[in-house]
Structures are given as C-alpha cells and as structure tokens.
C-alpha cells in the first residue's frame, strides 16, 4: 500500500507515478490531498505537500486527479480534517459524496481521532466509503476498543511514535502493537518508517496484512525533481520500489509461522 501526495511535483507526472505504483503491484493506493499544516508528517511528505500545493493542487483538482487516473486498484484519500470540513456546501458530507463519485473507496484523516469522527463516519456510511483510523503505539485499552468499533476497511497501524518518514531500521513498537490488535478481526496495514522490501517482509512476518510506504517513494520523486530526471525514469524507479515492497510483503507472509492447527 503505497502513499503519494497527489500532484507532486505536478499534476501530469503525479498521474504517471500513481499508475507506476499500480503497475508495481500495489493492492491499495493511499493518495494524499495536501493540507497546508500537515502536523503528522515528517520532512519528506511536508516537502511533497509544498510541491503539490505550489503546483496548484486544491480539493477539486484532487478529485479531477482521481477521476483522471487509469488504475484498477482501490484508492484511499488521506487528508486533514479542515479540507474535508470546508469542501462544498455541506460540511464533510459534500466532500465524501464527491470522493465517492470519483471512485475513492476510503479516507484516512490523521488529525481526526475517533472521538471527533461522528460526522465523517455518518457520511462515509452514507456513501459507502471506508473510514480508516490510525492506531498508535500509545493506543490501548478503552481507546483501542472505541477505535476498533468504528474502523472500517483496514486499520492503519502506526509503527512508531512520531511523524512519517523513511527510517533505516524498524521500530520495536510494531510487534507490540500488532500483538495488541490480534484479537480484532480487521486487516492491519503498518506504516511510518518502512522503506525497503526487507522492512516489508519483517512487518508482514510479524502479523501485518499490509505495509504502507510513503516517504521512501516520495524521496524518489523529490530526487528526480531536483535532478530534472524524466518522468518516465522516475516512474520506473517508483515501480521498481513498489515491486520490491510487494515482493517483500509476500516473502514476509511466507516466513510467517503457520498457525498451529491441531
């Protein structure tokens, strides 16, 4: 499950990059609708947000972007609550309606905890979108129950405290959190810090149903942008990392200890 900021660094290239992800075997694609105050993102995604906004991205353009995409993979929109709230005439509902219209299947809102999500939950139910919540290493007990009651589609398992960003090594928190989630019957996608096929393998091995990779992919775009590489060349690199990640995930699934059936 790769993440890209829609429109980074420009509308046309970004379309190709998303399509490259699909070609690389992504099962779900998270598409970021950039918000000016991305408080949950690390520097890599912040820069992507800046590039996309400078390229003229708006919510409406985002929907056009999605509509223009030629991919056969479920799309999830990741954005901040204020953009959802401001869109259209009916706060929240207009946004979800339009998202459904262009074929988005789910939303993740990093600054919307379950407590404040009733309006969005309702709208998602109305238009048949999944509302994906994030579970953090600090989430436990009652909170965890409350979130898991509300979640649909999958749960986004935050691998570590902090903000998004590619890391050299995996977090120890991942296994703990996954263990805590075992009892809940919802697919678990792990994100925050995953950057290589090997990471993906170990995360899936530890029990995840998928991995979410954002910053590592965006770094490829950022580099290409800086060195003025052709869109095709960048897209190829993206596709290849997507492939590596996918392979890692499959490999991790195979490494997983078989459930003991006696």
């Amino acid at each position: 499950m790769p993440y890209l900021a829609a429109g980074d660094p420009d509308f046309e290239s970004s379309l190709e990059y998303v399509e490259a992800l699909a070609a690389g075997g992504a099962d779900v694609i998270e598409l970021g609708l950039p918000f000016s105050e991305p408080i949950a993102e690390g520097p890599t995604i912040q820069q992507a947000v800046v590039r996309s906004l400078e390229g003229g991205m708006t919510p409406e353009r985002f929907f056009e972007f999605v509509a223009a995409l030629d991919v056969d993979v479920p799309l999830v929109c990741m954005t901040y609550y204020n953009l959802i709230y401001q869109y259209g005439d009916e706060p929240v509902r207009s946004f979800v309606e339009r998202a459904a219209e262009v074929g988005i299947e789910g939303v993740v809102v990093p600054d919307l905890p379950a407590e404040e999500a009733d309006l969005l939950r309702e709208a998602c139910d109305e238009f048949g979108l999944d509302l994906i919540f994030i579970v953090a290493p600090t989430t436990a007990g009652d909170r965890l129950d409350r979130i898991m009651e509300r979640v649909s589609g999958y749960v986004y398992v935050q691998a570590r405290l902090g903000v998004t960003g590619a890391r050299e090594s995996l977090s120890d928190h991942t296994e703990e959190t996954l263990a805590r989630l075992e009892e809940y019957d919802v697919p678990k996608a792990v994100g925050f810090g995953i950057s290589t096929g090997e990471h993906a393998a170990s995360v899936v091995e530890a029990g995840a149903d998928g991995v979410i990779v954002g910053s590592a992919l965006i770094e490829i775009i950022a580099e290409g942008h800086e060195t003025d590489d052709s869109t095709a060349a960048v897209a190829e690199r993206i596709e290849s990392l997507a492939r590596e990640l996918k392979a890692g995930a499959i490999e991790g699934g195979q490494r997983r200890p078989r459930p003991e059936r006696t």
Binding site: N82, Y87, P110
Partner: protein, 417 residues
Amino acid sequence: MSQPDTKFGEYGGQYVPEALMPAIEELTDAYRRYVLNNEAGFMDEFSERIEDFGGRPTPLQRAEQLSSRYGVDVYLKREDLLHGGAHKLNNALGQVLLAKYMGKERIIAETGAGQHGTATAMAAAHLDMPCEIYMGRRDINRQRPNVFRMRLNGAEVNPVDIGRGTLKEAISETMRDWATTVETTHYVIGSVVGPAPFPAMVRDFHAVISEEIRSQTAAKLGCLPGSVVACAGGGSNTMGAFAEFLGEDDVDLYAVEAGGSSLTVDEEAGVAPHSASLSTGEEGVLHGARTKLLQDRHGQIMESHSVSSGLDYSGVGPQLSHLVDEERVTPVDVGDDDALEAFHRLSQDEGIIPALETAHAFGFLETTLGPDGDGSVEFEEPVVVNVSGRGDKDLEAAIEETEARELENAPDMEVFE
C-alpha cells in the same frame, strides 16, 4: 468535582493525531485533579510560586496621560512587570509545574514572539526540567533577545524553517515533536489554543489577571471595570483578562486583533496581511481545535501577518470564537501603523515601553478616542487595558519598522546609529 471545558459551543474539541490522544486524556485528567480540584495542593503551590518567582500581584495603575488625552479613566494592568516581561509566565509556570506533578521529564514548547518560549524556559529552569523550544526562523530574526534569553536559561532553541517561519509553523513542528516523545514529554502550549484541555487550562492559569483586576478596581474604585481591553493573538492574555468578567454583563470586553497592513487578503498567495481571525476568519480546524481561522476557500490555512510576532497567527482560541459569536466579546482590529504609533505614545507619555502586541490594545483607544479617532465606541469607565508585556524584546524590530514609515510621533533615532 469541577470538570474541564472541552467545547465552547461548536468550537474547541481535540483534532489531533491518535498518537497524542492518550497524552491528552492523561493531561485532561491531571488538569481536572490538580488545577480544577487543587489535588495535592497544586494550586496553592502554583499561587505561591507565581507570587514569589513571578512577581504577582501585578499593579493596576492609573494612566494619567492617557486618561487626560482620551477623557476617560484608563487603568493599566501591568502584566509587563511579571517575571520574563509578559503575562506568559502565568501559563508557562502552571504547565511546567503540572508536568512535574504528572511525572513528565521533558518540556517542549513553541514560541512566536519568544515570550512564551522565554517564560517556559524560565519556568523550566526554575523547576529544573530540560526544555526545548521551537521557533520559526523569521521570528528568531525578529526577536533575537528572546532567543538569547532562552539559551541562557538552558533551553534548546530549535529553528523551524518551514513555511513563513512564524508561530503557525512552530506550533505544527512542536506537535510533531510531541507526537514522537509524548510518553515522557509535556507540550506547554503558549496560548488558549490547541486541543482540549489546553484552551480551558491556559485560560485558568491566566485567570489570575482578571481576579486581580476585580479586586483592585474594587479596592481602588469600589466598582467593576466598565471595559476591559486586551490584544488577542491566540488570546491568552485576553481570556486571562476577561475570565472573571464573563458572567458580568456590565463589563464590556474588547479583543484587539492585529489588522496588519490591511484587512484584505491575497487568496492567490495564500497570505492574509493581517491576523484578525476573530473579525474576519471562518470556522475551521487548526492545531487541534475548531475555531475561527484565516483560510482560503479550500480550507488551506493562510499565512497571517502582523508587525508583532506574538499576534502573527492564523487561528485564535476557540472560546474567544464562541464569545464573539455570542456577542459577549467585541472583536476589533488595529493595524501595524497604529500599533507602532501607540507603541511610541505609551513609551513617551507613560514611561512604559509596551510589547508590540500590547501596543495594539492601546492603538484601539487612539483610533476610537484619539484626536483623529472615529468615535465608534462609547467606552464604559473605568477602562482597564491589559499591558500584556514589555517591549524590550521588540526594540530592534520597532526601530526598524518605525524607520520604514512616516509616523507622527516617532522619536529621533539618530543616536542609535
């Protein structure tokens, strides 16, 4: 047991990453126990420290020259005399002490004008806690003395290079740190903004301002204030000065925002040349709370502007938004030029160099009651103006900004060269 306010009408709430929610629940609990219910004598210790270390109570002083200039009785609530030079210490000391009670080991904070960062650094040094402050690069350049002061107090100062490098970016960056370190760290937010319980809690630490005003006007004048005037960035000095009087309908409350260079906005550039969220902003969600915001029609937050770093913020406290909707608080705005003139006027006429933030509150008196005033407001007397801070941090900025303008009352700067 008293319970925390989490919403103010439709405003407020807790719009933060999930990783922070447990900490916010823990904080809400600590706020209720220690602050609202004085568990373990927390509020007694706070009061003692804010008196002995902070210098409370601060005086309520009659402004002789302004009173005669405007023909109304003007009193000054001298928060500029608080340790560190602004009201900010009330909240910073309260929160650092609370963090200590909660067993936290590290303090982080954002700062705009540097006053909150300075206050937090001082409080952290006083209570022996390690401390890191995030500050926009632009603000670092506008308020160097405060950067020095934080460093001298042993705090780390982390420059924030994102965006325009002002308060908004610093808050976002501090939230990112907090999301990483939340288990051991308390984020001392610097105004009545952010997710609940911050707006209520910060207000409560500053409420001592209006409690003192009430007893001081009672003792000196045998009455309540007729009007209370305070500048509003996030609105902490504002809510502190208003809190006691919210239920007193005879006390008029004026929140003076930064009108910047103009109230019109440049949607294309995403920039508002002002910071008047209460007067011109629209409801939205920023930094954890629903409140009035400066945003474009898509919901992207606009960069604000003010000559004073401390008012230069695109949001405002949710309770103020609510009080404005309820017409309990009157929002007004004063632009850069008028604020600078007021800065010089107070310095020259009353012998008090105010913070540029504070100068906005005085600019409001001049633009309504001054020789060229528009007479738009009938002030109920006595008028109490909250002198939220002193201007030492602003000397360089004020001189530079003054030189760039033709102000009537600018002093001759020649000897400064």
